[in-house]
């Protein structure tokens, strides 16, 4: 009877396409919006991901997320180094500074100052030049997207193309001269500000005069040392907050989840996709069953048991579900591929696929359930009613 069920479904072209459209739409919207949502969420901690080396981040206990800088006394660096199980420590300066472009306009940049000797925390990928070039006088490394965009030199003539910032160009950061010695690629951050790398000591000369300039202490654990235990020890010894990179990512993400409306908006879009998909697919599927109710009645009269009918309807909804899911996820992937090189945040991890598969399965089950209820309750005697 499985074959009868499939033929029934596919034979009713218009309804079948309607059901598919509903399910495709639902899985497309859920997958795509969830991927954008997740893309944005991973952006919130993009800088933590970019710095692969540190196992543990040490910071002021009041810090809530990566962009929430509350500087420490520089002596904290040595106190952390003294904790048992610490292999190395590196200072990190992170601050928003004003860069002055050649035409005199200002652009806020995120300045990252790396440990002068080890340069730990450098960009994940160099496009031009070497990280080592930071040791050259006044050297900075600029993120390539900004170099071509926000930090590019405006066109000399009206309507002309801006000239990208190149290696060898100079710019002024907080009235201090800086020379571009390299271009790098960094993960897009939530605010999408240009990122400029330099050494810690140079960053402190750029930064406005403040008593405290140490933003984070980056820590590498000795091999074999448990990171959770080590961060607990650092906390106990220094009174500072110490988080593993993963904990810090989650913390950052949670902060954005809690305090910005953007994730909520995407959550609503996902929910809407789910609801609309449920309504369209559920409705058309239920309608499909209703329209075939005489056929189901005839099958019932002719001796088809409720168990078999249930299996037939489940099969119909699962078939429609898998095809709709396939098309929807395919379209979402195509969307992701097409927008790959744009500003759009789009990440489709396995759990988004699993979650949308689960959602589509739920929609199918729900619509099947409605139909099954109808068919199980159906009196076969209706077949003789004209």
């Amino acid at each position: 009877m499985n074959f009868v069920a499939l033929k029934m479904l596919i034979g009713d072209r218009a309804k079948y396409i309607g059901i598919l459209i509903g399910l495709t739409f639902a899985s497309l919207l859920i997958t795509q919006q969830a991927s954008i949502f997740w893309g944005l969420m991973t952006r919130t901690y993009g800088q933590i991901s970019d710095m692969g080396q540190p196992d543990i981040w040490v910071m002021d206990p009041k810090v809530q997320f990566i962009d929430d800088v509350k500087p420490l006394q520089s002596t904290e660096l040595y106190r952390v180094r003294g904790v048992e199980g610490v292999e190395w420590v590196a200072p990190l300066y992170k601050g928003l500074l004003k860069a002055r472009l050649s035409n005199g306009s200002f652009q806020t940049v995120i300045c990252l100052g790396l440990d002068d000797s080890t340069l730990i925390g450098g960009p994940p990928e160099m496009v031009e030049g070497e990280l080592e070039d930071l040791r050259r006088a006044e050297g900075v490394i600029v993120d390539v997207v900004a170099a071509q965009g926000k930090l590019a030199k405006p066109a000399a003539t009206e309507g002309g193309k801006p000239t990208p910032l190149k290696v060898g160009d100079t710019l002024e950061i907080n009235d201090h001269r800086a020379v571009v010695v390299g271009l790098c690629r960094v993960s897009r951050t939530f605010q999408s500000q240009p990122v400029v790398f330099t050494t810690f000591s140079r960053a402190t000369t750029f930064a406005p005069r403040e008593r405290k300039l140490l933003s984070f202490v980056l820590v590498g654990a000795k091999p074999g040392v448990d990171q959770a235990e080590l961060s607990a020890r650092i906390r106990a010894a220094t009174g500072l907050a110490a988080w593993t990179a993963d904990e810090f990512k989650v913390m950052t993400m949670k902060y954005f989840l809690k305090y910005t409306g953007i994730p909520v908006n995407f959550g609503i879009a996902v929910l809407l996709g789910f609801l609309i998909g449920t309504v369209i697919a559920g409705q058309t599927f239920y309608n499909f069953t209703l329209e075939n109710i005489r056929q189901f009645g005839a099958l019932k009269a002719m001796g088809t048991g409720n168990g078999t009918l249930l299996r037939m309807i489940l099969l119909q909804s699962l078939l429609a579900g898998s095809i709709g899911y396939g098309i929807g996820v395919g379209l979402a992937s195509a969307f992701g591929l097409l927008t790959r090189n744009t500003e759009l945040a789009f990440r489709m991890p396995w759990w988004v696929l699993t979650a949308s598969a689960g959602a589509v399965l739920f929609i199918c089950m729900l619509s099947a359930l409605l139909s099954i209820r109808k068919v199980v309750k159906l009196e076969p005697a209706i077949v003789f009613k004209s």
Binding site: M1, F3, V4, G11, L299, A301, M302, G303, V383, F384
Partner: protein, 237 residues
């Protein structure tokens, strides 16, 4: 005339009331009726007299309120839901006024449905269905969808479907009323020729006097009762 032997259907004191309270409609008011094995019995009578209700009880798709209906020795009402469904699948063939073919299946697949319900493999079921289609003169149209067939042809497919699993009882509700006279006649001829046989009974509801000639016996109903049972349409006048 086929020789009618032991009783295939034995109805005693069957009543059926639809609804309850002030809306109650008594459809059957105490039916006694026997259908013999190997006979073609017609149920006739004015609209609303309870023909469809009675045939539904006999076919095991509707439970009577009172009385008993034995079909080939089985008290159908007393069977559990599952057993009743299985009983219908094995024992009863159906022909409906509106054909009720599955529009997505071709003629052979439609005929094969009762076999598929009983778990016969698809290939074997369709092969057997094609043989049955030969018997209703539609062997060459086995691939056609119902929408590609005329009303008479669709009803012949439905007759094939009612026969394919060799049931002992075939019930038909108004099998010819959607067809013109000539086609209806042809359909009845085929039904009579292929469906009636030793060990198989037909119960046909009809108000179409032109097909009365095909009956072995005719039960004339009125207002929920069987008024009389006759062997020839002439006696009804």
């Amino acid at each position: 005339m086929t020789v009618a032997t032991a009783d295939a259907v034995v109805c005693r004191g069957i009543t059926k009331v639809y609804g309850s309270g002030p809306d109650a409609v008594p459809a059957l008011r105490g039916i006694d009726l026997d259908v013999k094995s190997g006979e073609l019995m017609m149920l006739v009578g004015p609209s609303g007299c309870g023909k469809t209700t009675l045939i539904s009880v006999i076919a095991g798709i509707l439970d009577q309120d009172e009385g008993t209906c034995h079909v080939f020795g089985e008290d159908v009402k007393q069977l559990g839901a599952r057993a009743k469904t299985a009983f219908r699948g094995r024992t009863v063939g159906f022909v409906f006024q509106a054909y009720n073919l599955l529009p997505a299946l071709n003629a052979a697949e439609n005929v094969a449905v009762p076999l598929l319900i009983q778990g016969v493999k698809r290939k074997e079921a369709v092969d057997r269905a094609r043989e049955v289609l030969e018997r209703v003169d539609l062997g060459h149209r086995w691939r056609s969808l119902p929408s590609q067939l005329s009303g008479g042809q669709q009803q012949r497919v439905a007759i094939g479907r009612a026969l394919v699993h060799d049931p002992k009882l075939i019930v038909c509700d108004e099998p010819t009323s959607a067809l013109d006279q000539e086609t209806g006649h042809k359909v009845m001829e085929i039904l009579r020729a292929v469906a009636v046989g030793p060990g198989r009974s037909l119960v046909i509801v009809t108000h179409d006097a032109r097909v009365f000639e095909f009956a072995d016996r005719i039960a004339k109903m009125n207002d929920g009762r069987v008024e009389r049972v006759v062997t020839s349409a002439k006696e009804l006048r």
